[in-house]
């Protein structure tokens, strides 16, 4: 059966959209390999790793590695909290409890609330308490208001499709509550937990809007980048952009490979229960 013309028209549209999506990033990746004499725009003035080397020199403006460390640390803490808190809440939501509807609405509201309002509120809260804002306190909270709704909604999707018969079987064989969770539930939903971890880390590592008013004096990397681009005069900023994008891609790639490996392992070692005719 041949494809209708609308197929080709839309395939072209999607192709153009993908170019539109990746084109700009590709541009700065290419420009980050500018020669030592090269500028912020094309043409390329030779090809070199000069600007990547410059990243490791002391900078006249900006604190690249300090902000990088903070972003990385914050991303990891947010990732762990997001996985743990969403998983626990996901378990809770499988049963009825008072306030569950309110909690769900809070989560959804937190997801769609304009970031500048959340950021302002957290800033005002710390100002009133007289506590210095910092990445490990106010900004951590701000990031969690952004990552936890994603985590919770993913957990809903997971537990909606989860077959409780597995847990009943474990309990029938004498497993305690903890053993059931540890040896039955967690292994079964592991790919989704990896997904939540991916959301938790990358959304935090790249977050800027909710961070801006809540981070205090020491910036995270996205904020440092935003500040640097205003008076960028050399392709150092592109080298930094290439590096941080590469890190994001490594995290995404690792998560995807982890999910694929778990699936493959299951296909190989999984039981044949339910497969018989």
């Amino acid at each position: 059966m041949s494809r209708p013309p609308i197929f080709w028209a839309l395939a072209l549209l999607l192709g153009l959209f993908v170019v539109f999506l990746y084109g700009p990033i590709a541009t700065i990746v290419v420009l980050s390999f500018q020669g030592p004499e090269g500028g912020l725009v094309f043409p390329m003035n030779g090809v070199s790793l000069h600007w990547f080397a410059q990243l490791f020199q002391p900078q006249s403006v900006g604190d690249i590695w300090g902000s990088f460390d903070r972003s990385l640390g914050l991303g990891l803490v947010v990732m762990v909290c997001t996985v743990l808190f969403s998983f626990l809440a996901g378990l809770a939501f499988r049963r009825r409890f008072k306030g569950s509807t309110t909690l769900l609405y809070l989560a959804v509201a937190s997801l769609v609330m304009p970031s500048v309002v959340v950021s302002l509120g957290i800033g005002a809260l710390f100002e009133m308490l007289g506590v210095e804002r910092a990445w490990y306190s106010s900004a951590l909270g701000a990031h969690l208001t952004w990552t936890l709704p994603f985590g919770l909604l993913i957990m809903f999707a997971v537990f909606n499709r989860f077959n409780p018969a597995y847990e009943e079987a474990a309990r029938d064989q004498g497993a305690s509550g903890w053993q059931t969770v540890r040896h039955v539930v967690v292994p079964l939903i592991l790919p989704s937990l990896v997904g939540v971890a991916l959301f938790g880390f990358t959304l935090s590592y790249d977050e800027i809007a909710r961070t801006s008013q809540s981070v205090g004096a020491l910036n995270t990397l996205p904020l440092e980048l935003e500040a640097m681009q205003t008076n960028a005069t050399t392709p150092v900023i592109y080298a930094l952009g290439t590096m941080t994008t590469a890190l994001s891609l490594v995290v995404i790639g690792t998560s995807l490979i982890a999910v694929l490996l778990v699936r493959r392992r299951r296909a190989r070692y999984g039981s044949d229960a339910g497969q018989a005719v």
């Binding site: 197929f7 094309f42 743990l84 939501f93 569950s100 304009p114 936890l148 980048l225």
Partner: protein, 289 residues
């Protein structure tokens, strides 16, 4: 022992939901209430927050002509971005859900569209600068092919650049929920429409479009919330030339003027809630959750 265990098991959902609830309470509910409270506060240069009940901040917001200008611009950005992302999102989701036949190809293409979502927003914005700038690639190309004879200034640091940035960042937030609605559509409905003599275009407008309304609404809520409150894209791609409501609030905050910023934020919040409520009236989202 048994009654104790029973009581513990009744308590367990509360314990399990505790960390999540605590975070939302401390870092979302309380701060939002504070924004409301602070919007009535007084302030001075050296004292940021003076407890009071004054409507002065609101009076200021509504009496400044600049407020109406920024709201007008912000709503214009929002409407343009919404129209473009909804159109693109619908067409791409339709292509993925109904025209691509293999599940693997579907997933690979959807993943290709999603990967940038997990990378840095700031980098994705900065990346437009060497393309759209005065000496950027686009201007060079336009001059090369003789379409224009001088670099076009409106390409960067303009409303155009801001909307382009939004479309670049937020089209995915339309594609995913619309795609999600579309894969749930019963295929026999489409067969029935085709059997009844509907062409491709009629199938799209009379069957698929009404049945993907929920997805469009969810995507729209995200786009509206992000564009209405945005200040980062406006800052990077609008330069100093463009002011939005979010940018105005961020500027006030950079001078630590909490009360006027809070009043401004409350007005913004009401505007966003009204827009979302209107959407919800048109489409019942809860049905799908």
């Amino acid at each position: 022992m048994q009654p104790l265990m029973n009581r513990l098991s009744k308590l367990s959902p509360y314990l399990e939901a505790l960390p999540l609830s605590a975070v939302f309470l401390a870092f979302f509910a309380v701060p939002i209430v504070l924004v409301v409270v602070v919007s009535f506060f007084d302030y001075e240069t050296y004292q940021l927050l003076i407890p009071a009940f004054t409507l002065e901040n609101y009076r200021e917001v509504f009496s400044e002509p600049v407020t109406y200008q920024t709201y007008l611009i912000t709503i214009e950005f929002c409407a343009l971005t919404w129209a473009i992302t909804a159109m693109l999102g619908f067409l791409i989701a339709y292509f993925l859900a109904f025209q691509v036949r293999s599940k693997t190809t579907q997933m690979v293409l959807l993943l290709a569209c999603s990967i940038p979502f997990w990378t840095s927003i700031v980098i994705r914005m900065i990346a437009w600068i060497p393309l759209l700038g005065r000496n950027g690639l686009v201007n060079r190309l336009l001059i090369e092919i003789g379409l224009v004879n001088a670099p076009q200034e409106w390409l960067l640091y303009s409303g155009f650049a801001v909307v382009l940035g939004y479309v670049h960042l937020y089209t995915l937030t339309m594609i995913v929920p619309i795609f999600n609605s579309m894969v749930r559509i019963d295929r026999s409905l489409i067969e029935a429409a085709v059997d009844a003599g509907a062409g491709t275009w009629q199938v799209i407008t009379t069957v698929i479009l009404p049945l993907s309304k929920t997805g469009i609404a969810i995507g729209s809520i995200f786009v509206i919330a992000m564009v209405m409150g945005d200040f980062v894209t406006v800052d990077v791609l609008g330069g100093g030339q463009v002011a939005s409501v979010g940018k105005q609030i961020a500027t006030q905050l950079s001078y630590l003027q909490f009360p006027p910023a809070a009043a401004n934020a409350m007005v913004l919040l009401v505007a966003v809630i009204v827009m979302i409520a209107l959407l919800m009236r048109a489409v019942d989202i809860r049905k799908e959750l």
